[in-house]
């Protein structure tokens, strides 16, 4: 596949992530911070997000399995997850955290369990999509091309 076609596919794929609500404007802000002095900024930050997220999801899962559920501790984990997802522009994950936090405050265990399931779905969806995006970027660069500048208005 020639570079121009790869770049067009990248643009269309990236736009789809915004249209589906998986990403918001903060992801574009991250891309603005990537330059010659920091060429891998987005991948590095998002990789950190992946690592932290999986630990948080494991911690929340274990906490919800305890005989006496510590809603304050779960709320703290969810608060952190909201912050990190917001920082990388993972909009649907962030929104999932907001709903989850409300159930923590109500100490509604069924609501928390449902939210956790939903949150895991949203997280793994955005993770897979971003990994695909980064793979496309690697292919473009390997073929001698550059990643296009994306302009999306909100």
């Amino acid at each position: 596949m020639e570079v121009g076609q790869m770049q067009r596919q990248w643009v269309d794929y990236t736009k789809s992530l915004f249209l589906e609500g998986l990403l918001d404007g903060q992801f574009l802000q991250l891309q603005q911070l990537q330059d010659e002095s920091n060429p891998d900024f987005v991948v590095e930050v998002v990789s950190l997000f992946f690592d932290d997220s999986e630990k948080l999801l494991n911690d929340i899962t274990r906490a919800l399995e305890q005989p006496s559920v510590d809603f304050k501790k779960i709320g703290a984990h969810v608060h952190q997850f909201k912050g990190s997802s917001s920082s990388v522009g993972a909009q649907r994950v962030k929104n999932g955290c907001i709903a989850f936090r409300n159930f923590c405050e109500e100490q509604n265990i069924d609501g928390c369990v449902r939210c956790l399931q939903q949150l895991k779905q949203e997280y793994y969806l955005v993770k897979n999509k971003l990994k695909t995006l980064f793979a496309m970027e690697q292919q473009i660069v390997a073929a001698g091309g550059s990643i296009p500048m994306l302009e999306i208005s909100f």
Binding site: Q26, Q29, L33, D35, V45, L48, A76, Q80, G83, V88
Partner: protein, 140 residues
């Protein structure tokens, strides 16, 4: 604030970013480095108190942290730096700005509060405003 007073870059401005979340910390650091700042990051108040010095001009701190939170830390900073010109400008970073948050920040002597995540343009105007006026509390 008039657009023609906004600095576009802040070469060598020494800033501390305090946030217990690694992702948020990295993003805020990346943003400030992009604007030319010399950034130190810390993940706790204890770590912060070890690194803070008169050389640091601005501190961005997440107010919701385990242990000593940003509010208590702001009070300790005021105790440490009794002269205003020696004290760094203190800005709270929060995921939720409401009247209560703003009042809490003002009460402990913070110089501003901003909603995170912060855009490049917003951070540029925040730094410009802070360095000129040493205060940033926008109308709620």
């Amino acid at each position: 604030m008039q657009a023609n007073h906004v600095q576009t870059n802040f070469p060598g401005l020494k800033v501390i970013v305090m946030d217990d979340d690694g992702v948020s910390r990295s993003v805020t650091k990346g943003l400030l480095v992009h604007l030319g700042c010399d950034v130190t990051t810390v993940s706790s108040s204890d770590e912060f108190l070890q690194v803070i010095s008169q050389e640091h001009k601005v501190v961005f701190m997440d107010v919701c942290m385990p242990g000593i939170d940003g509010y208590e830390l702001a009070a300790r900073i005021h105790e440490k730096f009794t002269k205003r010109h020696e004290r760094p400008v203190l800005v709270a970073l929060t995921g939720n700005i409401n009247k209560m948050t703003k009042e809490s920040c003002m009460r402990v002597g913070m110089d501003g509060v901003i909603l995170k995540p912060v855009s490049v343009d917003k951070m540029r105007s925040v730094l410009s405003e802070l360095l000129e006026h040493r205060v940033l509390f926008e109308a709620m």
